[in-house]
Subunit: 307 residues, 2 copies
Amino acid sequence: MQSKFIIGIDLGATNVKIGLLDSKGKILKKVNLTTKSFPGRLKLLAEITRTVHNILQEKKLHAKDIIGAGIGLPGPVDFKNGIVDYLPNIPGWRKFPIRKWFSLRTGIKTFVDNDVNLVALAESRMGAARNAKNAVCITLGTGVGGGVIIDGNIYRGSSFSAGEVGHMPIAEKGPKCNCGGRGCLERFVGNKYLLQKARGSFGSSISLERLAELAKKKNKKAIAIWQEAGRHIGVALAGVVNLLNPDRIVIGGGVANAGKVLFDEIENTVKSLAMPTQRRTVKIVKAKLTDNAGIFGAMFLVKENTD
Amino acid sequence: MQSKFIIGIDLGATNVKIGLLDSKGKILKKVNLTTKSFPGRLKLLAEITRTVHNILQEKKLHAKDIIGAGIGLPGPVDFKNGIVDYLPNIPGWRKFPIRKWFSLRTGIKTFVDNDVNLVALAESRMGAARNAKNAVCITLGTGVGGGVIIDGNIYRGSSFSAGEVGHMPIAEKGPKCNCGGRGCLERFVGNKYLLQKARGSFGSSISLERLAELAKKKNKKAIAIWQEAGRHIGVALAGVVNLLNPDRIVIGGGVANAGKVLFDEIENTVKSLAMPTQRRTVKIVKAKLTDNAGIFGAMFLVKENTD
């Protein structure tokens, strides 16, 4: 029998999503793990491996039935050699050869990449960046991630670290950022900082979901917070648009659900700041894939590298 | 006889440089025109065409001896269809099909591109970006231009307008820029703005050349102006480095000659602001090609599109 299934794994700081897909991209089985329940790299990897074995067993499949496994990880990943450089939010992964480790233990051909690169790939193949030649995807959440598609393919940069839209400075004298920089976009619109702002107006029990609801109910203070966030994001994206002249910008991640007030402000800011040719060319759209973007991206990574 | 010569033309707002090169890249003849002496698009083009004919006549060559002509222009150029979109600093060029015009009048196969793209191409092939896989070149002058090399080739973007490093915002609430944006890098370090700063300290007769000399003689006010410029440039480049993870940044243009004080500050700023993997990967170097970069770039454009 010809191999025709793919394993897609989205390894995040909060959850690990493990999916079995057929070659048409249908998810046949999906298991979520809580990352923190398996402290330490090896415990987590052992649990992921065990889960993959269980899925195969349940579906009466063997390693030879699997075209390959794709794994997305939240940090710089050497796609070519299959090595995690480091994971900023999960300790203990420095220079870890995950591809070799995983393929040896499972007998499955393995491909690894940065998680947001895989989200961008999925959006490019079946989502909001479909048919775009050059696209930039940003994910708004605890961190602000980014993935760049050039000429229809993931652009990884010279050491597999491209795409960090969240760490483009938008204020020369802005506050220090976790990354070591200063005035980075993430330092203004990462969940933590948005929540700080919101607490200043609405007290410590406010959540970002609630802040979005309040804005929808026309609460002026809530609207102002989202608009300020939208302006910050729009400023960074205007720089991206002038530099890369993409035809599509895709905005995803939890914060993207804040709705029209945020989105309109992002779009207005980009359209008012970017240069004429660039701003006429670019479409700014909301991500289409949500929960399973990482798994789908991992699937395309496998498919496009085994054809 | 096989064609073996190339015409390289660097059409700028101040000068037009026209060169005849052999297939090894040796400049056999070079003529400079003063752009403003030929007001209007057609007068300028007629003079360029006349100059090309004169050069051929002098060298006893005919159109059939010429592999092709490359023309660099200061604005967005549709490389594929050979059409100038517009030239911000030379009126009258909107949507002009220069490739067709020039090839019909000269009988020479013609290729056109943005001037800074061609500088980047030349630096990539024979200058400071040689052997770099991904590189960004910026030119510091009246305007702050940029060219992006991805995987060894010019990256033009989705509508031939990529590379505008000078129009990346570095200050959300910064001053209005000519381009329609706000707080763009060029708005802080374009010649005009640097000169304004310098005049504040040294009176109206100061030039940027003199400001550079003063800094070399340890004049503190002059050093401070260059350092401030270096920080602005470094902030924008830190964003470029985090986004594109290039292995080389090339800095050229007149202002780049301000020397070590400017260059050190650019480098220190990028190295202190960019993310660890990205900053370890990138080398920041001074452009190697000076006056003839545009002509050489035009030559490579012809060579690489006729092989």
